[in-house]
Amino acid sequence: MNNKRLCIPLILVTSLLSACVNYSRDSGVENLWRQPQAFNNGTTTSQQVLTALGPPSQVLAVGKQTVYYYLKEQVQRQGLILLVYNETTEVSAFDRAIFFFNEQGILEDFSYSKMADTPE
């Protein structure tokens, strides 16, 4: 009986031996648009956007407009490792900014991606 009493906590402790894992990685441009910026439709120029944010990830022509598209990918993985149960969650977030300029290089419209506080 004494052996059994020792075995039970030993098994429980062994079962609940745990470890946590966590890693993250980024790719793409630096998301400087999340810092305070003073971009205004109708007055800000493409040069001012380039100076503030650096070269865009991609440039597009949409009709007579030029589009600057910025993208930063952030991947974060967290995990709980137990002997009888594991759980890992990986979240890939795509932080984006888009700017539309007219033929004169004046900002016509811009927007940033909505970011999640918690995964869906």
Partner: protein, 183 residues
């Protein structure tokens, strides 16, 4: 049978037969939940939805796409007799999609829009691995490709004579696939 004996047997059973059952969750992108709205132009969409995940430019239209995917992969781990530190894992994965599509004229007026949510099974599979390592049983490599947008500048450095896609097509995004995120 005493309660100690019962607990002993249950604990031993769990430890021996069910090592490392796992839940693997993945989230790609995020689409903020929004109430149904009727935009008239691209400005309304940008204000409500934020910068799009993907853009495509056609001859007389352009498209914004917003797409997020949640993948859940529950796994059952079984002990392998005589191999104490190894387990046999059975798993299946399901992807839940949230997709919003907006098409505009080149002047930015809305042509059409649609949103949809759906699920699709990514398959069932199995793996053998260490009991303290979470093995993925379903191949999700297609979700891990580099984003085309982050390779765009690099594509401009390619030799013109070796390009499958012309420079005009790259600049105007005149391709069948969306630019931005690949899914």
């Amino acid at each position: 049978m005493t309660s100690h004996s019962t607990l002993f047997i249950i604990s031993l059973f769990c430890l021996v037969t069910l090592p490392a059952c796992s839940i693997v969750k993945r989230q790609y992108g995020y689409v903020e939940p929004v109430a149904s709205f009727t935009p008239t132009n691209s400005h309304d969409v940008l204000q409500k939805m934020g910068a799009p995940d993907s853009i495509a430019v056609l001859n007389d239209a352009f498209i914004f796409a917003y797409h997020s995917i949640s993948i859940d992969e529950p796994q059952l781990g079984l002990a392998i007799p005589s191999f104490d530190f190894f387990k046999f894992t059975l798993g299946s994965a399901t992807a839940s999609h949230n997709y919003h599509f907006f098409a505009f004229t080149l002047e930015g007026k809305v042509i059409n829009l649609q949103d949809n949510r759906w699920q699709n099974a990514l398959g069932d599979s199995s793996a053998i691995g260490l009991i303290f390592v979470v093995e993925e049983t379903v191949d999700l490599a297609s979700f891990e490709v580099p984003r085309a947008t982050n390779l765009w500048g690099q594509s401009l450095l390619l030799d013109k004579s070796l390009l499958e896609i012309s420079f005009e097509d790259i600049i105007l995004a005149k391709r069948l696939d969306l630019i931005g995120q690949d899914y």
